[in-house]
Amino acid sequence: MDEGVVTLAHGGGGSLMAELLAARVLPVLGVAEAGEDAAGVGRGLLMTTDSFVVKPLVFPGSDIGRMAVYGTVNDLAMRGGWPRAMTVGLIVEEGLSLDVLDQVVASLAAAAQECGVKIVGGDTKVLEAGRGDGLYINTTGLAEALLAERDLPSLGRARPGDAVLINGPVGEHGIAVLAAREQLGFAAEVRSDCAPLHEMARALIEELGTGVHCLHDPTRGGLAAALNEIALASGVGMRLEEGAIPRRAAVEAACELLGLDALQVANEGKMVAVVEEGMAERALKVLRADERGREGAVIGEVTEGVAGRVELVTELGTTRIVDMPSGELLPRIC
């Protein structure tokens, strides 16, 4: 059902967005290699761009300023980049309180300093009232590649036998923002996992070198989308162990009530790592040595199964599909 217009479902990070880009954007722009978190531009440099739209601007565990820096840093880190510089575009809606602006800018500055990233430029536009959600941020990030470009982790490098890891519990960011926006009291204690991951990613690459096949941050669309993207890009299957996936009880309970699947809910401080067969234990040790990876786990393996299909072995020993989310997450009725 094509209604001739873009809908919010196209922005959900799922299959509809992938179709939209593949049909209408990438071929026109002549972009062949898409879907990666950042792109090599030669001379040992990587670039990425990202836009941040979140309501509310400040939410439990973080805010849009921090999210913009960490999000950019993480996209670079997922391609094996060491972030160096970024630009920041602020698109401000008329009427935004100066206190909120101050808070967000202070947060941007603190996060950039924490990550060792220099903010080298930016741009500011103001929209008339009613034309924006207070504040949007767009960034561009630049990083030095830690390995030669052909050896960098990439979504297409997963091979059967590889181990799949994640650095902690899934779904916290999405539920924290939803709970803050909709004032869902029952999920009030969930905090966003918003965090920079470049140090953990570098430690992993230092330990395993080219044995790090893919790194991917499961943001919009959650772990389900991230793993489906890797399986599709690599032309491999994947099998997960449900019991091995780190969970947070409050996130599970909120998802249960809202009819959401925690595997499809956004994260902002999580990293999926696909590493060469036999390297899982070493990779896990690296993750757990980082404060953002204490609850890290090996959650599954890459298989020769149907290309692009992610399966999950439940705690009952049965098997089911982990599907690519299609679009916007919409809570159910009862």
Binding site: L8, L258, T318, D323, C334
Partner: protein
Amino acid sequence: MEVCGTHSHAVGRHGLRQLLPDSVELVSGPGCPVCVTTAGQVELALELARRGAMVATFGDMMRVPGPSGSLAGARAAGGDVRVVYSPQQALELAAREPGREVVFVAVGFETTAPAVAAVAKQAPAAGPSGFSLLGLHKLVPPALEALVADEEVALDGLLCPGHVSVVIGSEAYRPLAERWRMPCVVAGFEPEDILLGVAMLLAQIADERAEVENAYPRAVRPEGNPRALALMEEVFEPTEAEWRGLGSLPDSGLKLRGAYAALDARERFGLAVVAAPEPPGCRCGDVLRGRLRPAECGLFGGACTPARPVGPCMVSSEGACAAAYKYERTQVVRG
């Protein structure tokens, strides 16, 4: 038959079919509020959006296709359509924008009806507001009675819905067991709950018993929740309602009673009943009656997917087709 869509999804999500012997088949039923809402009823909500009202709805309804598109499409085209998490939030939207017509699309079963009744009770007291309700509520027992009476639908037992039963109580199914000799077991939503419910149904069938049993006693009492029932009784009265798949059933819907009738969006906007055909090729009606498995529909997984749903059963997170597509399509899609 597992009546409730949340059961269907739990069955898929936990791969429970793989644990059952081949002689036991679980068939999805009509327990998905969005799915049993007809195309004509979706059109009423779209009409309200076109007339400039703010339409507040549960998220599940957003992508259900009606004859002239979906509420998500109406929002993209500039209509004021809001996703809310409770009827209370819709009332708050109305309070924030006095003078604005705000309509809550009240879709759901006995599970959500008490919360809507509570909001209806607050609304008149909140002064002259533009708040109204598009009442599309439906009642589960009349639908089950229609199903067991239908000779084309051959069921051996009913796995009755846990959430609905919290409100109406397990005794509500007694006529089904006694008059229609249909074994009924109320079950919860954990995999163990569902398997226990199935085991209790199988025991009844083996013993040739037809009783109402409760496999979910930690949440469901025989008499249900008397306060919730009283609230519903005060605000609503039963009325004939149109179901997708089941047609028009007497006393299977709810309409606002007496003093609360002023909140009825149909009256307020003079909405006429819209007779709208179901989408061509869509067999949601047969799926909802348990006559057709999702994968047996010609559109399943091809023309109809969660990204581009043709029928509501593929849209809703409680829909049988969505569950089959999301969790089981290796097993169910051939080729």
